[in-house]
């Protein structure tokens, strides 16, 4: 059966959005850089669970996330509890993730590489599921995983100058990373997931369809392939970001 059919949608879904969602489902099910296919699909399933977790609700209301002891309501998957906690934090309490939290997880077995790939899966899943929720559409069933081992690929050129994890520096988009950006210039948010370059490739693909393409980023009037102009686009983006308390 074809994924993301959308034929029952009361609204016509743009073909590029459907194609991006279908393509992501294919990528999700395959072994990644630091997680195998079963683990990647389990991360996706756990991301759907986070908003149903009573412990997350209680912790979100606490002055500090460390004040409340408890256990997550999980999908009981193959994932380690540290990974489950990271998934739930990214979905429900992301503004209080700190460098110390990442370092402690790293010491306890969730490497920064694995954390970045996990983050990429969680946010990609979330944006697809949230698109469905926004339109009142049912969630797409998760794909069956492919067997195989993670590649353990890591870029050769990395820098520790921003954020909680190493990232490819602006001048580092060369060789296998040459497609990430051009001219040695990019934004920090683009660099964020580059410890796992495929995670950036995934979000670019989804962002091109759901927001605007990288090529159109400097077009502040509007993309002719969209029904809303750039001001309308940024109004929505700004309001959602403000509610998420995003300083960036």
């Amino acid at each position: 059966m074809e994924t993301f059919d959308y034929s029952d949608s009361p609204y016509p879904i743009r073909s590029d959005i459907r194609k991006a969602h279908q393509e992501y489902w294919q990528r999700l099910r395959k072994p990644g850089s630091w997680w195998n296919g079963a683990q990647r699909v389990a991360i996706a399933a756990e991301s759907r669970q986070a908003f149903h977790c009573a412990y997350c609700v209680e912790r979100k209301q606490a002055l500090s996330p460390y004040q409340v002891a408890g256990q997550h309501e999980t999908t009981q998957s193959v994932l380690d509890p540290i990974a489950v906690d990271a998934i739930h934090r990214i979905i429900t309490d992301q503004t209080r993730i700190t460098a110390r939290y990442i370092e402690q997880n790293d010491a306890a077995g969730l490497s920064k590489n694995a954390y970045v790939e996990l983050t990429g899966i969680v946010v990609a899943m979330f944006s697809i599921d949230e698109f469905h929720r926004a339109l009142g559409l049912p969630l797409e069933p998760l794909p069956a995983f492919e067997t195989g081992e993670p590649s353990q690929y890591q870029p050769e050129i990395l820098s520790d100058d921003i954020g909680f994890v190493p990232t490819v520096p602006p001048e580092g988009a060369v060789g296998a990373e040459a497609d990430l950006w051009s001219d040695g210039r990019t934004a920090n948010v683009v660099r964020a997931l580059t410890l796992v370059p495929d995670a950036l490739r995934d979000w670019r693909m989804l962002s091109d369809a759901q927001y605007i393409s990288f090529a159109s980023m400097a077009n502040f009037v509007g993309d002719p392939n969209r029904s809303i102009n750039r001001m309308q686009t940024e109004l929505i983006a700004g309001r959602v970001s403000a509610i998420n308390e995003c300083f960036y």
Binding site: P12, T95, I97, R230, V240, E245, C246
Partner: protein
Amino acid sequence: MLRVSASTTDTDIDLNAINGDTDSAAVGITYGPELVRFAQSFALRDDELAQHRQALLDIAGPDVLVDAAGVAANFQRMTRIADSIGIPVDDMQADVGQAVRQELNLTRFASAQNTLNQQA
């Protein structure tokens, strides 16, 4: 980005729309109030999403609704990328960015520390 797009198109806007003021959203932006109500209800996960979805659909049509849903969902992702990785703002000294952050009082957000601590 909203400020820059308004400047580019020589449009007067009121940035208080970003903080949820729907009257401000009506200034210079077609369907501004409906877009803000839809985005807000969606991001807050409140019980009025269906109502605001329908209101946007009624006034703007299905193509606008679908595009709006795509952008709103996309920024559920972007904000989590920024905060999960702790990336700082690219250029805190840029005039436009400074003005917008001040006007919207964005330093009240906990994630501002990812930028402010890096500068210290």
